[in-house]
Subunit: 242 residues, 2 copies
């Protein structure tokens, strides 16, 4: 790509809009802030060898057994039948996850990841690895699509906020000709001084706080607690090392 | 509906997301700020008897001939072949449009209108009739879906800004459990002091200003210049009178 032309930076606010974007020539950042992509970077940051994202519980069990791996995933806020662990980043401290493989099934995040499989490259993003994502994207000098996992295809607040945080941080290195990017950024700027309070009207905040998960939400909205870059290689997310 | 339970207020940011919402029990507000719904309320405000929205140019010509009506519509920023007038609100002053029927074809707005045909009721909204829309919605005490026409299914800035303006104005009368509504409102609040300047990064601003349409944009972003309520009755938009 010519140095004089900056690569494109776009935001896709819902998987139901993904077909409107050209993923083939872009790095796609999968964003599922509450909580899949926050948990993925946390597990890798704490030494997990890899995280294998899978679409459903049966596949999670099958691969988990074949590899002797940790199986994890929730449905309706509870650990899914047949799996061992849930979606909380706090379940994956170093003394548990180091050196291990985690097989994870989530609904929205995994769905988007599979939909974007033709992308030039796939990474995952969330506030705990905000800086790692931004630094990587700036260094690659490629088109970028920030893909929000959303909630059952409905646009959600937390993924949009993260997309906005990335846009705000790296926009000078890119051409931004995408209203979703501008909307995300303006919402992030409105909320950035206290994301936790800003999130309290959001649907997912109400859903998770009903399960007593305020600490999870707070962690998932805090930048750079697990600053590693999960990169999809052969359908496995591994920590990228330069 | 019980007086103790407030009706629902939601925002659908793109026609490609409309299937996620239950339109049957809602008043749907069709929003196509640049420029279809701004032009519709302007024509009715200036005395047009009705505006008939149609899907394509051929239908526009056919109905226009049958009714002896004004035919209007643009494709790629120019008056479409076979039609008489364009999409600019300034083409429909009182001394031209009063007492007449306008048959209008637009791409995004008309598409959404037809998609939402099962709604309990359909009205159209834009900044020139902001107060009329808000007053009507508050008075009806029904569920409301603010439907953004967007641009070829991509979320756009101007329709989101108008949705946010409505949310901000009437939210106390409704239950707002919709992140798209919160995002729209926060973006509107960020831009409201100078919507014209705020819009200058948006894709449609660049597209229209390339055609020298800054005056159109300025009018379409100014509240209450044509404060009438277009209501769809038998596939025709007519001014609602209490």
């Amino acid at each position: 790509m010519s140095e004089s032309i900056k690569p494109r930076l776009e935001v896709c606010m819902s998987p139901a809009l993904l077909h409107l974007y050209d993923v083939k020539d872009s790095i796609v950042v999968i964003i599922d802030v509450l909580r899949a992509t926050s948990t993925i970077c946390t597990a890798l940051y704490n030494g997990a060898v890899r995280v294998i994202p899978v679409a459903d519980v049966a596949e999670c069990v099958r691969i988990g057994q074949a590899l002797g791996a940790i199986t994890a995933g929730e449905r309706d806020g509870k650990i899914a039948d047949g799996l061992q662990y849930g979606n909380s980043p706090f379940e994956y401290p170093r003394n548990f996850v180091e050196g291990k493989t985690l097989v994870l099934t989530t609904t929205n995040g995994t769905k988007l990841l599979h939909m974007a499989k033709d992308a030039k490259q796939i990474i995952t993003g969330s506030f705990p690895n905000l800086s790692a994502v931004c630094d990587y994207l700036v260094a690659q000098k490629q088109h970028v699509l920030l893909g929000c996992a959303a909630w059952k295809d409905r646009v959600n607040m937390e993924d949009t906020l993260f997309a906005g945080a990335v846009v705000n941080r790296i926009r000078d290195h890119f051409t931004v000709n995408c209203d979703s990017a501008l909307l995300s950024e303006s919402t992030y700027l409105a909320g950035k001084d206290d994301l936790f309070t800003f999130m309290q009207g959001a649907t997912h905040f109400k859903r998770l706080s009903g399960f007593g998960l305020e600490d999870d939400i707070r962690y998932c909205l805090t930048p750079d607690g697990a600053n590693v870059l999960p990169l999809l290689v052969n359908n496995e997310l591994v920590a990228y090392h330069q």
